[in-house]
């Protein structure tokens, strides 16, 4: 019996590791739902109010739930710029707020972006927030920096300050957050292409490009 004991021990550990790894993988794998048509930016009303970059009538929509204080979202923001150049009029990008509670200034940053959006400069503030992310993320009073960015962008700073704490901005962020919760979003960035969730393991340049190409192909097959 002793002769076989090491084989038994090794087999038991191998099976236990494989089994627990599989259980953990299933538990950690996000269960994302596709965006329902009623909540899609394709719906006319939302198309007007959503933050859209690129051709508003593009056949492919890349929708991001992001957090301005999240470094991977910052990296993804610069990648989005590359994608918009690459796909030109075939792609539009939609941003939705999902500030994580673990990030101290994320909610304020979302408020700053939305307040800038009320003056028509959402994407300019978006670019500034991601470009300066490492600076304001570690600042004791990030709000002062956001106000200085508003000034640099030529916004009415007094109005910007009021809007940051206003109901419209709060409702907008809460509405994005509620949609994210409904869809099962837990981390940022979480991406959807033409309302379909991208598998988290494909959240890399090759994976995103492949998903966009597949969506374009599907659109051309359907003749739309």
């Amino acid at each position: 019996m002793k002769r076989y004991l090491p084989f038994v021990i090794v087999a038991v550990v191998a099976l236990t590791t494989f089994g627990s790894g599989t259980v953990l993988y299933r538990a950690k794998r996000p269960q994302l739902h596709n965006i329902p048509e009623s909540q899609s930016v394709l719906a006319k009303g939302d198309k007007e109010s959503a933050h859209i970059r690129g051709n508003p009538d593009a056949p492919v929509t890349l929708e991001e739930f992001g957090d301005f204080q999240c470094p991977p979202c910052g990296s993804f923001a610069s990648f989005i710029g590359e994608l918009l150049k690459e796909y030109d009029s075939r792609l539009r990008v939609v941003f939705r707020n999902f500030p994580l509670s673990g990030h101290e200034h994320a909610r304020e940053a979302a408020q700053a972006a939305e307040a800038a959006g009320l003056q028509g400069k959402f994407w300019e503030m978006y670019d500034t927030l991601y470009r300066e992310q490492s600076l304001w993320s570690n600042a004791s009073n990030a709000r002062e920096l956001f106000e200085s960015y508003a000034g640099t962008l030529g916004l009415d700073v007094d109005q910007f300050k009021k809007d940051m704490d206003g109901d419209r901005v709060r409702e907008r962020i809460d509405s994005d957050h509620a949609l994210a919760d409904f869809l099962g979003v837990k981390v940022t960035p979480t991406l959807f292409i033409n309302n379909r969730a991208i598998d988290p393991k494909d959240k890399n340049p090759e994976g995103v490009r492949a998903a966009i190409n597949a969506a374009l192909e599907e659109k051309s097959k359907n003749g739309t």
Binding site: T17, G21, L24, K28, C70, P71, P72, V187, P200
Partner: protein, 146 residues
């Protein structure tokens, strides 16, 4: 206590410690496979390390390679504890390679990424502990028995 018994105890200890390393590496592998390391919201301390280009060799997560290495160490140490002399050489070879890989990964965290992942530091500690236990194993002067 005779040398054979002391050696068996040390290899048993190596096998037990390797299981802790295997659990850690398995957890990190799952994180890599679920894409959690490319996001915020999962493990904020670790994403800078685990989401970096140094966390993969080609398309394979370094954590998966680590899990296979710990499993190999566990397997060889278990056989060594049961008196399989040849297994000792494989344990020493594996741990030597893991020791060098650990030094490289610590260098990457300290000097290239300027960020530390606690799970990676735990794995480094495990590797150093295993190396220390192996150094304490009395050398054998006889020919391998099997």
């Amino acid at each position: 206590m005779n040398v054979l018994r002391f050696r068996a105890i040390l290899y048993t200890a190596v096998a037990i410690v390797a299981v802790a390393g295997l659990a850690d590496a398995t957890y990190l592998t799952v994180q890599a496979l679920t894409g959690e390391t490319l996001s915020c919201g999962g493990s904020p301390d670790c994403f800078r390390v685990l989401g970096s280009s140094y966390a993969k060799v080609g398309r394979i997560p370094v954590a998966l390679i680590g899990a296979l290495a710990y499993f190999s160490v566990f397997t060889f140490a278990t056989f060594a504890a049961f008196g399989y002399a040849r297994a000792r050489k494989f344990v020493a070879l594996m741990v030597g390679m893991m020791f060098l890989a650990t030094l490289w990964l610590l260098y990457v965290q300290a000097f290239l990424l300027h960020a530390y992942c606690r799970y990676c530091l735990f794995s480094a500690a495990i590797t150093f502990l295993i190396a220390g236990l192996l150094i304490a194993v009395p050398p054998s002067h006889g020919r391998p028995t099997s």
